[in-house]
C-alpha cells in the first residue's frame, strides 16, 4: 500500500502485475536500496500515479512466488510443498481474490485499476466481473486473448521447463533441486518477445562479445550474452511452477469465448471509463489487439480514450519511462483525482 486511503475510501488504485512482477510496485526497501519497485518510474509522490493523491495497492497474485500462496508454499495436508498439486489459476481467479482483498480493506470501489500486459488483462476482467467496483480501467499493452503465435511461444517456454531433468514432474522441491536450465530457456524465449527487432538491432546489432568469432557454441554475440545474463538472473529468483501457471493463465484468458467470440457482448456489463494504450512496435500484443478492445467499448458506448504510443521498445515499453506515455497517464489520473476529491 502506497499513500493513504481517504475517509470514504474512494481514492484506492489497484495495480495488477504482469508475468514476473509482484506487489512491490514502487519505492525501495529500507534494508535494500537496490531493490526498487517494478513500476517505480510511474508510481510515487508527484509521479504520474501520484501517491500523494491516491492510495495505491500492489498485490501478489495467487500462485506466485513473492509472498502469496503458490506452488512453493507448504500444502497443509501433506506438509510438503504443493508443487505440481497446486491448482492452475486463471485471470478471473486472480480478480476474484483481489476483490476479496478489497473487501478486507473495506474498499467498495476502486477509483481505478491499472495494469500492463497480463496486468491489463486483469484490469479488463475486473470491468466484466465486478463492473460496479471499478471507476476507471487503465489497460496498457493488452490483448483480448492470446494469438496462436503467443500461445506457441508460451508452449516452448513450458516444454523447456517440463523437460528439464530437474523438474521431477513439478515436485522438484522435495529433491532439493530446481529446473533452472529449463527456466532459463523459458525466460529467454519470453524475453525475445518483449523486445522489438529494431530495439535489439540498435542495442546489440551483430556486436561480438569478445571482439572476434570463436567458432564455438559459447557466447559469441552480445545478444547471446545479454539473454543468458537475463535468464540467469531470472532463474535465480523465480519459481518454475509459477512460471508454468502464469503462462497458462495467459493462454486461457479469453473473455469473449463465453459469448461466441464476440468481445462486444463480453464487455457489455463493463461500465468503467477506459484508457487504453498500445505501443507501435509491440508485436507480442500489437496495437491491432488493443483496437479490438476499443471497438468493443465503442459498440457498448463506453467512455474510452485510446492512445497508440510511438515507442521503439516493443512490448516492454509499458515498463519504461516514455514522456508521452507518462504524460497521458498523469493527465488521466489528474482527472480521476478531481472527481474523487481527496
Amino acid at each position: 500500500m502506497y499513500g493513504a486511503l481517504n475517509a470514504d475510501k474512494s481514492n484506492a488504485v489497484l495495480v495488477c502485475h504482469a508475468l514476473n512482477a509482484s506487489h512491490h510496485v514502487a519505492g525501495y526497501y529500507a534494508d535494500d536500496r537496490q531493490n526498487i519497485g517494478w513500476w517505480d518510474n510511474l508510481i510515487g509522490p508527484g509521479k504520474p500515479l501520484d501517491t500523494n493523491r491516491f492510495c495505491v495497492i500492489g498485490v501478489n497474485n495467487l500462485g506466485g512466488c513473492f509472498g502469496s500462496t503458490g506452488p512453493s508454499s507448504i500444502n497443509p495436508a501433506t506438509r510438503k510443498p504443493w508443487g505440481a498439486d497446486f491448482p492452475v489459476v486463471t485471470v478471473e481467479d486472480w480478480v476474484t481474490t483481489q476483490a476479496r482483498l478489497a473487501d478486507q480493506l473495506g474498499i467498495q470501489r476502486f477509483a481505478a485499476i491499472i495494469g500492463g500486459s497480463l496486468g491489463a488483462m486483469q484490469a479488463l476482467s475486473w470491468t466484466i466481473q465486478f463492473p460496479e467496483r471499478i471507476g476507471h480501467a487503465i489497460v496498457i499493452a493488452c490483448a483480448p486473448n492470446l494469438s496462436a503465435q503467443n500461445i506457441a511461444f508460451n508452449e516452448v517456454a513450458r516444454l523447456a521447463i517440463i523437460t528439464d531433468p530437474d523438474f521431477h514432474a513439478g515436485h522438484y522441491y522435495e529433491h532439493g533441486v530446481r529446473p533452472t536450465r529449463g527456466l532459463r530457456v523459458a525466460r529467454m524465449v519470453g524475453h525475445i518477445t518483449y523486445l522489438s527487432d529494431d530495439e535489439m538491432a540498435s542495442k546489440f546489432g551483430r556486436q561480438l562479445r569478445y571482439g572476434k568469432l570463436g567458432y564455438t557454441f559459447g557466447v559469441e554475440f552480445e545478444i547471446e550474452s545479454y539473454l543468458r545474463h537475463q535468464a540467469e538472473k531470472f532463474s535465480g529468483y523465480f519459481d518454475a511452477n509459477t512460471y508454468l501457471r502464469i503462462t497458462k493463465a495467459l493462454d486461457y484468458f479469453d473473455p469473449a469465448a463465453d459469448h461466441g467470440g464476440n468481445l462486444s457482448l463480453a464487455l457489455e456489463p463493463a461500465t468503467a471509463s477506459f484508457l487504453v494504450i498500445s505501443f507501435t512496435t509491440d508485436w507480442r500484443f500489437s496495437p491491432e489487439r488493443s483496437r479490438e478492445i476499443v471497438k468493443a467499448l465503442l459498440d457498448n458506448r463506453r467512455d474510452v480514450a485510446y492512445a497508440e504510443i510511438e515507442a521503439p521498445h516493443g512490448h516492454d515499453a509499458f515498463l519504461l519511462d516514455d514522456p508521452r506515455y507518462h504524460r497521458l497517464i498523469a493527465a488521466y489520473f489528474a482527472r480521476i483525482a478531481n472527481r474523487v476529491v481527496t
Binding site: 471497438k295 458506448r301 467512455d303 474510452v304 480514450a305 497521458l328 493527465a331 482527472r335
Partner: protein, 198 residues
Amino acid sequence: MNTRAMERADFRAIAHWIKPAARVLDLGCGDGTLLRYLADERESIGYGVEIDDDGILACVNNGVNVIQGDLERGLSGFADGSFDYVILSQTLQAVRSSERVVREMLRVGREGVVTFPNFGYWPNRLQVMRGKMPLSDNLPYAWFDTPNIHLCTITDFENFCRTHGVRILERIVMRDGKKVSVLPNVLGSLAVYRFERA
C-alpha cells in the same frame, strides 16, 4: 477576428444542428474543444479521432473520448451507422482522399457535417488575381508549408456532392462569425454543411 473565435462561430452553428443526446464522431478532433462544447451544450455522447499525440493528451485533459488513429486509413474501427453525426471540422481541405473520407463519414454516420475555408472568398480571389497564393487568418499557411492540399470553393463542394451521391440538408456560410446570405461564394470565408446519403 482570431481563428479560435471563428471556430467558435462554426461550433455554434454545428451545435445548433445536433439533436440533444446524439452520438457524435468528430474526425480530426484536435484538443476536443468541439466535443467538449457539444457535450456541455447538447449532452452529446461524443468520440473524437485524432492522429496527433498532443491532441490526444489535450482530449484526455478535456475529459473527451478520443481514439488515436489516422482517418485517411478509413474508419474500420467504427461500425456502419453507429453514429448520428460524423463531423469533419476544418479538415476536409487537409485530407488526401476527400472522396473516401466523405464516403466513410456516411457509412459510419446517419448524417455528415463538414466545415471548410471557402477558397472562393473574395480576398482569396484577389490575392490569386495578384498572382499569389492566398494568405489570411483562415488560410494562414504559405504554399510550400501548408497542410491544405484540397482547397475548394462552395461551388466546388456542392458539385462534388451532386456527383458523389451526397444530399445537402443544410448550409451556413459565415464571415467573421456572422452569417452571409448574399453571394456566399464570394463574401463567405467559412462554409458549414450538413448532409446525408442521397
